[in-house]
Structures are given as C-alpha cells and as structure tokens.
C-alpha cells in the first residue's frame, strides 16, 4: 500500500507535470484564467489520464510496438470523447468556457507522455496510481496558477470579489500574464529544489 501511495505522491510533488516535467503547458496557459476553469480542466485531464493509463497498461502486451502511438491515441481519444459528452450534458457552461481545450486533451503531452513512459511498462495498479497522481498534480498546479491569475488579474477568487477597492492588473488575465506567472512559479520551485539538494 505504501508503494502505491508513493507512486501517487510522485506525480504531485517530485514529478509534477507542470512544474517539473513542464508538460501540457498549452492548456495550462489557455485555461488558467479563473480557478473554476482550472479545476474543471484538471478534473477532465485526470479522468482521461486515469482511463487511458489503466487501459494501456492492460493492453501493453497486445499493442504492437511499431504502431503504439496511434493505438494510444485511439484509447485516449475514446476517453476524451466520453469526457466531452459528459461535460456537455452536465455542465455546459464549463464546456463553453474551456472550449477547444477539452477535445485537445487528446494531444495533451501529459496523457500521451504517461502512456508512453509509464503505463506501457508498468502494471495496471501502478499505472492507476500514477495516472491519479499526475492528474491531481496537474489539477493542483492549475489551481495555483489560476488562483494567482484570477486574484491579481480580476480581483476575484472563484468568481467572488475578495478585497473591495483592489485594482486588478489586467495583464495577468491575458496570455502574457499566464506566461509570466508560470515562468516565475517555475523559477520559484527550481530555487526551492536547489535549496533542498
């Protein structure tokens, strides 16, 4: 059990997909305007990661090596389609806010990266925990980035005004602001890491 737990934790801190592996930056940059979008994107990606990791770990001995990427894409696309349909049915507002980035989870580097680097080499249960850990790590990173951007860029958190009279810096709500926040956070985490070593 302890082993699974460390497998799960690895995705959150030591190999955080956004801040350590620096994968999946495209949805991170585009979606992290508000916390609610960040959470929605994170959950959607976690669901796809979990599903694709389990199925690919199951099929790893059947998939021929030469055509493995197309096979992975088919599996991932299946889960993304399910995901999109569910989202459209139960939270159309979120689906509208995330827009093209929901179907684009198909080509999200984190999902494909974990399938290629982990699920195709490890057992089903390990892959499950890996997918869960990566998904939660991605979600937490998105929440952190979007909280900073929503607070400083719009003066709100989860859609509520926090401080009256606070003058938000519009630039943080724009793509350039996303690059700035991610860059500074990356630098900050790298400093923390180098201090620890």
């Amino acid at each position: 059990m302890k082993k699974f737990f460390s497998e799960f934790l690895r995705g959150i801190i030591k190999e955080n997909p956004t801040f350590v592996l620096v994968l999946g930056l495209c949805p991170t940059l585009a979606v992290s305007v508000s916390v609610i979008n960040g959470i929605g994107m994170g959950i959607a990606a976690t669901f796809v990661l979990l599903g694709s990791n389990i199925i690919i770990a199951m099929l790893k001995n059947i998939i021929p090596d030469r055509v493995r990427i197309p096979c992975y894409i088919v599996v991932i696309a299946t889960f993304v389609t399910i995901n999109e349909m569910v989202m459209k049915a139960y939270s159309p507002a979120l689906n509208r806010a995330l827009g093209i980035y929901v179907p684009l989870i198909v080509v999200n580097c984190i999902v494909l990266g974990r399938a290629e680097a982990y699920a195709s080499k490890n057992s089903v249960v390990n892959s499950l925990f890996d997918g869960l850990g990566m998904g939660v790590g991605f979600t937490l990173a998105l929440i952190l980035i979007s909280a900073i951007r929503e607070f400083l860029g719009a003066g709100k958190l989860l859609g509520h005004t926090v401080i009256k009279g606070f003058q938000p810096a519009f630039v943080l709500g724009m793509p350039s602001g996303a690059l700035l926040v991610i860059g500074l956070l990356l630098g900050f985490f790298n400093v923390l890491k180098s201090k620890k070593e």
Partner: protein, 311 residues
C-alpha cells in the same frame, strides 16, 4: 613602485569611466526634463518621480540582498530606471502606480535576467508596458498643462480625429501639451541630450536615424495621400525625443556596432510610425524600442565588424 608594473590582458589603455559615472551623467542630463515636467504639471509630477526612483532603489537593494549579490544601488542604474519609468507616466497617476512599475521594472525587467548588463529589454520600458497593459485607465488619462483638467495627448486626439485646433509647434517644443511627465518638454530633453553628446556618452547613430525615419515615414504616409504628412508634429509629439535619446540608446539593449545602431534606429522609427499611423494605440515609441531590443542580438550578429585581415 611595484604596483605600476601590472601586466594584464588588453585593453592596456584605461579610461577614467565607469558604469556609475556614465549612469549618473545620464541622470543629470535628465534633470532639466524633470524640472520642466514638474513646472508644467505641478507638484504631483514631483512625487511620481520621487516614488519611482525610491522604489526602484529599494527593490534593487532587496533583490541583490536576497540573491546574495553585491548591492550596487549607487551605480546609478536603478536610479536611472526609476527615473525613466516615472518620466513615462502621466502626472496624476495614483501613488501606487509608479511603485508597482518600478518594482516590476527592476525585478522582472532586470534582476530576473541576472542584473545590469544581462537584461534583454530596457527595464524602464518593461515597467511602463506592464502598467499600460494592466491599468490602461490610469495610463491614458493625461492632464492639461498648468491646469488640473484632464485632457488627451495630441497624438490621441489625432488618432480619434479630434485634432481640430492646431497646436503650434512652439507649444509642442516647449511642452505646453498633455503627456507624460518627462516627455513633454522637448527643449529640456534636447539640452540634456546635448550635454551627453558633448561629453561623448551618446553617439548620433540611434537617435538621429530614429527621429529621421519617423519623420520620413509619417511625411510619406500622410492623411491626404502620399507626401502630405505633418512630420514635424509627429517628431515633436509623443515620447519620441525622450525615447530616441534616452531609452533606445541604452548601452545594454542596443546594438554594439555603428552599422547595427543605424539599423536599430531605422527599425524603431518604422515600427513607431506604423503604430502611430495604423495601430491601435496612439503612441508606439515604447513598443517599437522593446521590439527592436528583442532584435538586437540578431542585428549584432549580422553587423559584426570584419576583423582586419580576414575575408
């Protein structure tokens, strides 16, 4: 006696110049423009300048302490950044705007890259563009000179097509118009620039090509067909003189060779003219200089001086 025979690598000929001396000279040359700005817009402008300079110094000191580098706040570069940033602000901004601008300019524009000499963009302009994108409301409300009434800059009026009464060139030259604190008084800016020219801290290549190309392009693409533009108006309004003499010529972020500097100046002029004539903003000097800052490494690569004796 022993110390007089130091054998070192070239250059063997030393000049009595240092970063600190040059920076303080530039600061001194900017003082007349600041005085003019305070005279025209009142004491509010003075506080904006003071806040900008002090917060730039404090930020630099804190960041150098935190990163355990030598604290070099007295070399004048932080003062210059804060000063230039404040000169690029309208006079009646809220007190926190110059502070945030200076902090951003020093922290993100300079120290993130590794301090003086490492930055790829002019820090003061980085700060200004950040403020412009974040709080456009404060950054585009200007004051009427000698009055507490808000008014637009001549360039903004031109963009909106509201420039009905003609502003005389003399008023533009002396600074009797709405605008940022340091950019309005062309006379004072030119005095400062002349001082730097005489002392040899400024070469003519960037400013002259910059101003000339803005004049040329705005003259060619005039409002009533080709070759009808009011080129003198474009040269005297906006932040062109301040930008061309004091910000485009920043040693760190402009090309090294004379040829490169000419390319740099023409590029700045072209972009400024394009933004002013067809862009969304009324003024484009800061964006033009930042864009050409980004192009500086590639200009340097293609305008390298030929080493004597090589093909």
């Amino acid at each position: 006696m022993k110390n007089k025979f130091i054998v070192s690598v070239s250059p063997h000929l030393h000049k009595d110049e240092s970063i600190g001396k040059i920076m303080w000279m530039v600061v001194i040359s900017l003082i007349p423009a600041g005085l003019a700005g305070v005279f025209i817009f009142g004491l509010k402008a003075f506080w904006v300048i003071i806040l900008g300079v002090i917060s730039a110094l404090v930020t630099e000191a804190i960041l150098q302490k935190l990163t355990k580098k030598k604290v070099t706040i007295w070399d004048g570069s932080a003062v210059l950044t804060g000063l230039l940033l404040a000169y690029n602000l309208p006079p009646q901004v809220p007190f926190w705007l110059p502070i945030i601008g200076s902090v951003f300019a020093i922290a993100i524009g300079k120290q993130v890259f590794g301090g003086l000499g490492q930055n790829i963009f002019n820090p003061a302009l980085v700060g200004r563009v950040f403020l412009m994108a974040s709080w456009p409301k404060y950054m585009t409300t200007f004051l009427k000179p000698f009055d507490a009434i808000t008014s637009a800059t001549p360039l903004a009026l031109l963009k909106e097509g509201k420039l009905i009464e003609h502003i005389s060139y003399l008023d533009l030259f002396l600074g009797k118009r709405g605008g940022c604190i340091g950019e309005v008084c062309i006379l004072a800016l030119l005095l400062g620039a002349l001082f730097l020219f005489i002392r040899g801290y400024l070469s003519w290549h960037i400013p002259i090509t910059y101003i000339f190309s803005v004049g040329l392009f705005t003259y060619i693409f005039g409002p009533r067909g080709l070759f009808t533009g009011d080129w003198l108006f474009h040269i005297l309004s906006g932040g062109l003189i301040l930008g061309a003499f004091f910000m485009a010529t920043d040693y760190v972020t402009s090309p090294l060779t004379r040829k490169g500097q000419i390319v740099f100046g023409i590029g700045c002029g072209l972009i400024t003219a394009v933004i002013r004539l067809w862009g969304g903003y009324p003024e484009g000097v800061s964006y033009a200089i930042l864009m050409m800052n980004a192009a500086t490494p590639i200009i340097d690569r293609y305008t390298k001086n030929k080493i004597y004796g090589t093909k």
